[in-house]
Symmetry: C2
């Protein structure tokens, strides 16, 4: 934990806050704080700052906080992801928050099992703690928005424009044609700036790949196909790798 995040409602008017539960244990047992010591703090979707330990109780640590004037910018990358199986999704949430995603849009696809949608990991009570874990690792406060869509076609044709207006759109698909480099790389596509927007919407398919109908629909909705080469990566590996490649272009250009 490189930052302790609090909900806005936890911060009192005088900017003091009681760290309880896992936060209190982290402060007393791992960081072994003493009164007067400073730790990095933040407010979910608000500013970061510094908290000075004012008192230590049996089950809580009180911090007096000073916050920066500005809230960090929302990450410039959104992710459209064909829902993976629950075991994979559970591990993926913290990675996504730590790399920085503005909006996570989870969708059905032919090769997504319908019962993947039944997991509690798609409820705020399931994913929120895992996203907070990733933000605390990366020292960010911007909680990704999450939306879940069981109808791929309706999402792409009717809903996506409202969810992610003004994004450049790319979709990753393995380059299995046998000709390395036959699809352009992430950097090739994103460095070719023809629009003013800095935001990117990245599409990542299921482990079995998008089918032809899905790829065609994505193409008609403005997604440019990109490839990382001939290797077929598992969902977790692919998401992390692709998000890193997109951030490397949009954050510094």
């Amino acid at each position: 934990v490189n930052l302790i995040l609090f909900d806005p409602a936890e911060i009192r008017a005088d900017h003091s806050v009681d760290a309880t539960g896992v936060h209190a244990r982290h402060l007393t047992r791992v960081l072994k704080v003493t009164p007067g010591q400073s730790v990095r703090v933040g407010i979910v979707d608000g500013p970061m700052g510094v908290g000075v330990v004012s008192s230590i109780g049996d089950d809580h640590v009180t911090l007096d906080c000073t916050f920066e004037p500005h809230t960090p910018e929302r990450p410039l990358v959104d992710l459209l992801l064909a829902l993976p199986r629950p075991k994979v999704m559970r591990r993926l949430w913290p990675h996504l928050a730590s790399l920085g995603v503005g909006h996570v849009i989870l969708t059905n696809a032919e090769k997504v099992e319908r019962d993947y949608f039944d997991t509690h990991l798609l409820q705020p009570g399931g994913f929120r703690p895992l996203l907070i874990e990733g933000l605390q690792q990366a020292r960010d406060t911007r909680l990704p928005r999450v939306s879940v869509h069981k109808q791929f076609r309706k999402l792409i044709e009717a809903e996506l424009e409202g969810l992610c207006p003004d994004s450049r759109r790319i979709v990753a698909h393995p380059d299995t044609g046998g000709v390395p480099g036959s699809a352009p790389s992430v950097a090739d596509v994103l460095r070719d700036r023809t629009s003013d927007t800095r935001r990117v919407l990245l599409g990542v398919g299921p482990e079995g790949g998008w089918n032809t109908f899905e790829l065609d629909l994505l193409a008609s909705a403005g997604f440019t196909r990109v490839s990382m080469g001939e290797r077929t990566l598992a969902t977790t590996t692919a998401c992390i790798a692709l998000l890193a490649l997109v951030h490397a272009v949009v954050d510094y250009h």
Copy 2:
């Protein structure tokens, strides 16, 4: 599994092979193969090819294989990694093999606990099946070489040149100076070609970071510092992200 890998010793002189155990179950229960059907096969550190099902027994499937004339090129990227805790290392092995690493060099550092070295995951019997899993995912046959070094200074000063001759060397460290972009990016450093070698040795530190002594020693051994920005990533996220960024430059330039 996108490829079934066999040890060279399993292949008979007539290029037939018996898939047993987990391979046999995958063929009969997941792929539900019938005689005459083809599946992708490969030989560890050898060529890929196609196996035609010739017979199906109670606990084995016999394949008649035809192999390509060439063995895939060894991945151009090597990884110098401060050993993470065993739970992290266990999950990391398949990611490393699927992204493509020529040589995994595991090292001590100040912020590495000594008992991390006691895990069976550093023995071939521990890591080999996890690397094979990653290769079968990515459709590669090149098993990463692995070496383990408990003495950081001896490794850097005396052993590294023998392990990784003729590599460009970069080391990742979070950009916590408060000035985004104060350390160059992976692409900035690697696109600036001043040597003929295509191989890259990527250094990734422990979760608490390299200390000053370690960074200085790496610098004196020719490692150029790179950054992915101000976010502090967990070891798994950082390794996958950095390997993707390095491969994106070296595989296509």
